[in-house]
Assembly symmetry: C2
Homo-oligomer: 156 residues x 2
């Protein structure tokens, strides 16, 4: 297929970007995936204003990637905490890919501030594109094939 035939708006990348494209959302996801769950902790760590954090969290809850939970420590009153849903956790490859790319191209002379490691064995973790038959499938070895859904849409 010629890529230009591929509808720019219905593209899954476009839909994903629509949810994630602002300056804070991916960093917010990063913190959530790494164990920061409370409003004030998120605000302080990200350095974002309360207002924006509130809006972002609401948007992510609406999008189904974050859920709000109440919890209660002993002797304390109930508090709210935010956790990723299954859909949210599955954005991990996006974050890892961004991390790997930033490590490689933006880290500067000092090197990356942190590396991702497999807890089981301590080896470095990387992102790979593979096909169902196990072939490495990066770069030009990959193409998009339009589905029935796209064909039907095109006819309408």
């Amino acid at each position: 297929m010629r890529w230009a035939d591929y509808d720019s708006e219905t593209c899954s990348i476009a839909r994903s970007v629509d949810i994630l494209h602002d300056r804070w959302t991916l960093l917010l996801m990063r913190d959530l995936i790494n164990g920061v769950h409370r409003f004030e902790a998120l605000r302080a760590h990200l350095g974002v204003s309360r207002d924006v954090l509130s809006k972002r969290l609401a948007a992510l809850v609406a999008a189904g990637v974050v859920e709000r939970r109440s919890y209660q420590d002993d002797g304390e009153r109930a508090r709210a905490a935010y956790h990723l849903t299954e859909a949210g956790r599955e954005l991990q490859p996006v974050l890892v890919a961004l991390l790997a790319w930033g490590d490689k191209y933006l880290a500067g002379a000092a090197g990356p501030p942190a590396v991702l490691e497999h807890i089981g064995c301590g080896a470095a973790v990387s992102v790979r594109l593979v096909c169902d038959r196990g072939h490495e499938a990066a770069g030009a070895h990959v193409r998009l094939r339009p589905t029935e859904a796209a064909r039907l849409r095109g006819e309408s």
Copy 2:
């Protein structure tokens, strides 16, 4: 490490997001990686204004992920085209991860408009997180370990 110890700004994810977080950049990268290289073709396919496209391209050239080339068809005058640099091409995993996620969670009843396939064998392509010793390393089986660079920064 406790994630909150990890500096939010020097994080490689943050640096990457800084370059990519606007509404158009990732879609622009998508089109560039898929063979749309000319200004007017990009503008038409993305549906973005000339002004913004011009700025985005300039920013991406400055960031080193896009390069501007001149080419000349027979009998035509020279024209400009934009191509990804090596660094730009290596953002492919980010795009594939976004595509896969959108396919899974945002495609709706009709299913995704296109699927990614390995040109060699036609099998579907997916993103995997693996460690250097070949272990599958997704979800909670992964952690960030601060490097010397982070320790030095923390002391300063």
